[in-house]
Point group: none
Chain length 390, copies 2
C-alpha cells in the first residue's frame, strides 16, 4: 500500500465516520484517536466497538457512502479537510480536546470537516474572531455587525460566523466588503442551499474564505445541528462577539460554549428598549461577556492575537491634571479682564499665598497669563470645559 493510498484510506475512513455518527461523537472521537481512524472505521463497520461508541454509531453504521460522498464533493468543488492534511487547524481545535477531557462531552472535536473555498483553514484561523447574533436582527444590529466585521477584517482578522440571516449574514458581508476572508460554519451539508437567501453570499464567502461543515453532503439543517455547529465557531476563533440576542436566544449557549473552550466572550450593547439587546445586556451584566463597543475593544479583548491595539487614548481636558485649589484659582480667573491675586483669592476661597504660588504654575501649564490688569485665563482651558457651564 502506498503512502498516498494510506492517506486515501484515512480520508475514506473519516468520510465514513462523519456519515455514520451524528456530531458531537465524543466516544467515537476518543476511539478513533486511540486506535487510529482506519482501524476505528473498520471496527465500527463490523460492530466491534465498546458500548459508548456503539451508541453513537450503530444506527447508521451500514451507510457505506464514503466513496460516493467524496466523489460528490469533488464534483461540487468541496474537499474533506482531515487531521492528516496540512491545513487541519490543530491548534484552535485543541480547545475541544481539552474541554472533552474535562468532561464536557458536548464539545468533542470533529472527525473531519467538509470545506468549500479558496482559503486554507489553518491559515484563516490563525487570527480569527467570531461575530454572531440573532436572525431577526434590527437595522442597528446588522449595521453594527457589518461595521465590526469590516473593521476586524481591515485589521487582518478572519471573521467566523454561521451564515444565518440577520447578524451572521451582516458579519460575513462586512468582512467581504473589506476584502477580508471570512469563514461560514454551517449546521447542514455544504450542498443544502441553506439558508436559501444566502446561497449567493456563501458563494462569495468561498471565493476568498471558506464554507465548512461537519455534516456530509445532503444533510438537511436542524436546530440541534446549529447548536452543535456553534462549538466549531467558538473553537475556530480567539473570541466570540454576540452582536444582538433576545432574552431567550442562543446567545447564552454560544457564550457558554466559547467560555468553556477558554475563549473570550464579548457582547455588543444596544438601546435598553430593544428586545434584541436583552441577551447581550444580560451576558454583560452577569459577567459572562465583556462589553465591546468598537473594533478596538474587540482587539483589546482578544489580546495578543489581535496584534497592536494600544489602549484608546483617553481624551484629556487641559485642566485635568490640576489640583482642587489650582482648579478653583483657574475658575476664578476671568477670560478677558485681568484680576489681582487678592481678587482671585477672595473669589476662589484659596489663601492669597497659595494663589500667588498657583498663578505662575497655571501660566506654565498655558492656562493663565499675565496682563496689564493682573491675571486672566487663556483660551486653552476654556474650550473643552464648556460643558461645565452649559
Amino acid at each position: 500500500m502506498t503512502g498516498s493510498d494510506a492517506g486515501g484510506e484515512a480520508r475514506r475512513a473519516r468520510a465514513y465516520l462523519l456519515r455514520v455518527a451524528e456530531p458531537p461523537a465524543p466516544a467515537l472521537a476518543a476511539f478513533a484517536s486511540a486506535r487510529g481512524v482506519c482501524e476505528a472505521a473498520a471496527r465500527v463497520r463490523a460492530g466491534q466497538v465498546p458500548d459508548p461508541v456503539a451508541q453513537e454509531t450503530s444506527a447508521r453504521r451500514e451507510l457505506e457512502l464514503a466513496n460516493r460522498d467524496l466523489a460528490e464533493a469533488a464534483r461540487l468543488g468541496m474537499r474533506l479537510i482531515t487531521p492528516e492534511d496540512e491545513e487541519w487547524p490543530a491548534w484552535p481545535l485543541l480547545s475541544l480536546d481539552i474541554a472533552t477531557g474535562r468532561g464536557l462531552r458536548g464539545l468533542a472535536p470533529p472527525i473531519a470537516i467538509w470545506g468549500r473555498g479558496e482559503g486554507r483553514l489553518d491559515g484563516l484561523t490563525e487570527r480569527a474572531v467570531a461575530v454572531v447574533g440573532a436572525r431577526a436582527a434590527t437595522g442597528y444590529g446588522e449595521h453594527t455587525a457589518a461595521e465590526l466585521a469590516h473593521g476586524l477584517a481591515s485589521a487582518g482578522l478572519t471573521v467566523v460566523s454561521g451564515a444565518a440571516y440577520g447578524i451572521d449574514g451582516a458579519a460575513h458581508r462586512g468582512c467581504l466588503a473589506a476584502e477580508g476572508p471570512t469563514i461560514a460554519v454551517l449546521g447542514c451539508g455544504l450542498d443544502a442551499g441553506y439558508p436559501a437567501g444566502h446561497v449567493g453570499l456563501l458563494g462569495r464567502v468561498a471565493r476568498t474564505g471558506l464554507v465548512i461543515s461537519e455534516y456530509p453532503p445532503g444533510t438537511p439543517p436542524a436546530r440541534h445541528r446549529f447548536l452543535v455547529r456553534n462549538r466549531l465557531i467558538a473553537a475556530l476563533s480567539s473570541g466570540t462577539v454576540v452582536v444582538e440576542a433576545g432574552g431567550r436566544s442562543g446567545a447564552r449557549n454560544t457564550a457558554g460554549r466559547a467560555s468553556a473552550l477558554g475563549k473570550v466572550v464579548m457582547a455588543v450593547p444596544g438601546p435598553v428598549g430593544s428586545v434584541l439587546s436583552v441577551g447581550c445586556h444580560s451576558l454583560i451584566r452577569e459577567g459572562e461577556a465583556t462589553l465591546v463597543a468598537s473594533v478596538g475593544d474587540v482587539l483589546d479583548s482578544v489580546g495578543p492575537l489581535g496584534s497592536a491595539s494600544p489602549e484608546a487614548a483617553r481624551p484629556q481636558r487641559s485642566t485635568d491634571g490640576l489640583s482642587a485649589q489650582a482648579l478653583r484659582v483657574h475658575e476664578a480667573l476671568g477670560g478677558r479682564q485681568g484680576k489681582s491675586p487678592d481678587g482671585v483669592a477672595t473669589e476662589s476661597g484659596v489663601p492669597l499665598s497659595r494663589v500667588r504660588a498657583l498663578l505662575p504654575e497655571l501660566e506654565l501649564e498655558g492656562l493663565a497669563e499675565r496682563c496689564e490688569s493682573g491675571w486672566r485665563r487663556t483660551g486653552r482651558g476654556k474650550g473643552a470645559g464648556g460643558r461645565g457651564d452649559a
Copy 2:
C-alpha cells in the same frame, strides 16, 4: 443661654463657616468635629486655628454674613439643615466621614446644607438612587433617564440628581411624573436661578422633594463646584446610575466618587455609534460600573431595601459560588420530597462518594437540608433568581 439660643448659635456658626470655607473643607470639618462648631467658628473668626484650617478659611474669614444669610434664606423659603437638626441625613453622610478618614480629603462631609422644599432630607434619603448624566443628552438618553426615574419613583425610591439640562432634568421630571419626591443637589446658591431653564422645574422639585446645596445664597455656579457637589449626590444615594456620558464627561468622576464612598455604580448602555454612550460603555467595560438596562436591574444592584451595602452591589444567586458538581447535586434535589444520596447521584450523574461529601456542604451554605425522606433543597437557592424569569 437657653437651649434654643445654643441651637441658634450652632446654626449661625455653621452658616458662617459655609460662607468662609469653600467645600470640601476637610481640615475645617475635622476641626469643627473636634472642637464643636461654635468654638471652631470663633477660632476661625479670630484666626486662631491650625495651619490646615487657616488654609481653608483665611481668605474669607472676615465675611460675617451668617445672620444676613439666615435672614435672606428665611425670606426665600430656605432653611439651613444642620447636624443638630433631626432631618440631618447622618447615616448616608457617614460614607463621607469614612472616606475622609481613609485619606480621601476631597470627600469631606458638609458643614451644613442649605435646603428648600417640603421634603425631609433624612426621610427622602432612606431609599434613594442617583440618576445622572450628560447635559448634551440625546433623545434616547433623556427618554431612558425619565423612564428609569419614573420606575424608581413608582418603586418608592427617591431620585437624586443635579438639576442640569439633559439627563439630570429628565430624571427629576420622570420622578415627578410618578409623583415621587426627588432631590436636586446644586453647585451654586439655591437662589442662583441656575440653570435658568430649570427654575420652574426646581420649584416643582421643592413642592414634594428638596433642592439642596452647600453653597450660601448668592454663590454663582462654577465647574469645580459641580465636581464638589457630585460627592453629595453620591453620598445621599445608595447607588448612582450614569445614563449617558461622553468620553470626556464627568461620568468617570461621578463613578469614582460613588465607588470611593462604597456606593453602587451603574451605567446604562446605548447604541455603540452614539458618542454619548462612550463614557457608559467604558465604565462597564472596565468594571467600574454594572450594566443596568431596566428598573429591575437597578433595584437588583442596589439591593432589596436600597441598602448602601457595597456587598449588595452585585446580584448574587445563592448558588453562585458552587462548583459544577455541587450545582448539579443542588439541581438534582427536590424542593419538597427528600431524596436519598443514591437517588441524587443517579439523577445528577455525580459519583455517590462526591454526593455524600457535597450534601453537607450544601447544608452549610443553607442550600440543602435533611428531612425524613433524605435530602431536599431549601427555599433560598431558588427564590433569589425570581427576576430571572421575568
